[in-house]
């Protein structure tokens, strides 16, 4: 077989991967230049009663316990970190009441889901973030009525807490 042709194909693959990584790197640089120092690129800002509290950053993942469940719809394992644990990293539990509204938003998908703290706090509900294939966060859960893929919030970019 022509080795040159194999080389062309391999070069094509390298070029595709390089373009994707190059664009991702450029996007990160742009985001880093525009965002405040406490909001690194890709981080998820958390607001409480309209005020910025903190940004959920990848470095914080080490402090969180892993969580997982198998979704009933497709039998896929959803694996990540509980939303409850993420919120408690930045907000004291004493500030949260059962009816405090936790809203997780995705501006690119134009989707949002509001849940009461009591629902988020219940471990059986498995309200958690799963890491999508592209590395963004997806809010998933086992709560009846919010246990289907179409309803889950992909590409999460904001968390709001309203007391």
């Amino acid at each position: 077989m022509d080795k040159k042709r194999i080389l062309y194909v391999l070069l094509g693959l390298v070029a595709i991967v390089s373009v994707m990584l190059g664009v991702d790197f450029w996007q990160r640089q742009q985001a880093a230049a525009l965002a405040p120092a406490d909001m690194p690129p890709g981080s998820i800002p958390i607001f409480m009663d309209g005020k910025f509290v903190a940004s959920f950053i990848p470095d914080d993942l080490a402090q969180l316990a892993d969580a997982s469940f198998v979704d009933a719809e497709e039998g896929k394992t959803q694996e990540g970190w509980l939303l409850r644990d993420v919120i408690l990293l930045y907000i004291k539990e004493s500030k949260l009441k059962d009816d405090t509204q936790i809203t997780v938003l995705s501006s690119s998908r134009e989707k949002a889901k509001s849940l009461a703290w009591v629902e988020v706090n219940a471990e059986d509900n498995m309200v958690m973030f799963d890491l999508s294939g592209r590395g963004t966060l997806k809010l998933v859960s086992k709560i009846p009525g919010f246990d289907l893929r179409d309803l889950w919030i992909q590409d999460v970019d904001k968390i709001e807490v309203v007391r």
């Binding site: 077989m1 022509d2 042709r5 194999i6 062309y8 194909v9 391999l10 094509g12 693959l13 595709i16 991967v17 994707m20 990584l21 664009v23 991702d24 996007q27 990160r28 985001a31 690129p41 890709g42 981080s43 998820i44 990848p58 497709e74 039998g75 896929k76 394992t77 694996e79 501006s107 690119s108 998908r109 890491l131 294939g133 592209r134 590395g135 963004t136 966060l137 893929r149 179409d150 992909q154 590409d155 999460v156 970019d157």
Partner: protein, 182 residues
């Protein structure tokens, strides 16, 4: 009378392979929590299909038909257009690489490279959709690289599995049987 490019028998075979791709996506599950792991199954099916119907365009037909089936079944989480385009481009790129490399998927290098590029093309469609929809950049810095590696590795494994299947089919006399049918 003008002869059709694909015979009716070949079109039936291609439709069966297309259905198999969708069934594999829905029914076959692996416990691997890595991006693109299902590529092991469907790239194997696409490679086998492209060799069972050894004409340029066979993989594209499988990609387009399975894309139509998958999008109407609601597979994928970026919507119908993304599902259709990702499956279709997977087939088209596999075809293109097979054509560049001489078209014989019974050669392990050809099968692996065609499946790798085809599967990567599927990820490229998803990535472009993310850009177009202004999706946020990855939460984990190396998330994209990890996903790309996943698609490349599982695509290559799918190509290898397809090559093994073709080898078994050849040994079992399937291609001699097909030659009689044609």
């Amino acid at each position: 009378m003008k002869k059709n490019y694909f015979s009716t028998f070949q079109l039936i075979l291609l439709a069966l392979f297309s259905a198999l791709v969708v069934v594999a996506k829905i029914a076959l599950r692996t416990p691997i929590q890595l991006s693109g792991h299902s590529g092991i199954f469907w790239m194997a099916i696409v490679i086998v299909g492209a060799q069972v119907v050894p004409k340029p365009g066979a993989a594209s037909m499988i990609g387009i038909t399975s894309g139509l089936l998958a999008s109407f079944l609601g597979l994928g989480d970026f919507g119908m257009l993304d599902t259709f385009l990702s499956y279709a481009l997977l087939g088209i790129v596999t075809d293109l690489v097979l054509w560049i490399l001489g078209g014989n998927a019974e050669n392990v290098v050809v099968a692996v490279l065609a499946a790798t590029l085809g599967h990567t093309a599927k990820f490229v469609v998803k990535w472009i959709f993310g850009l177009v929809m202004d999706a946020p950049i990855g939460f984990v810095a190396l998330g994209l690289l990890k996903a790309i590696i996943g698609y490349i590795v599982f695509g290559a494994l799918g190509g290898f599995l397809g090559w093994l299947t073709l080898k078994a089919l050849r040994k079992a006399g399937f291609f001699a049987y097909l030659a009689e049918k044609r």
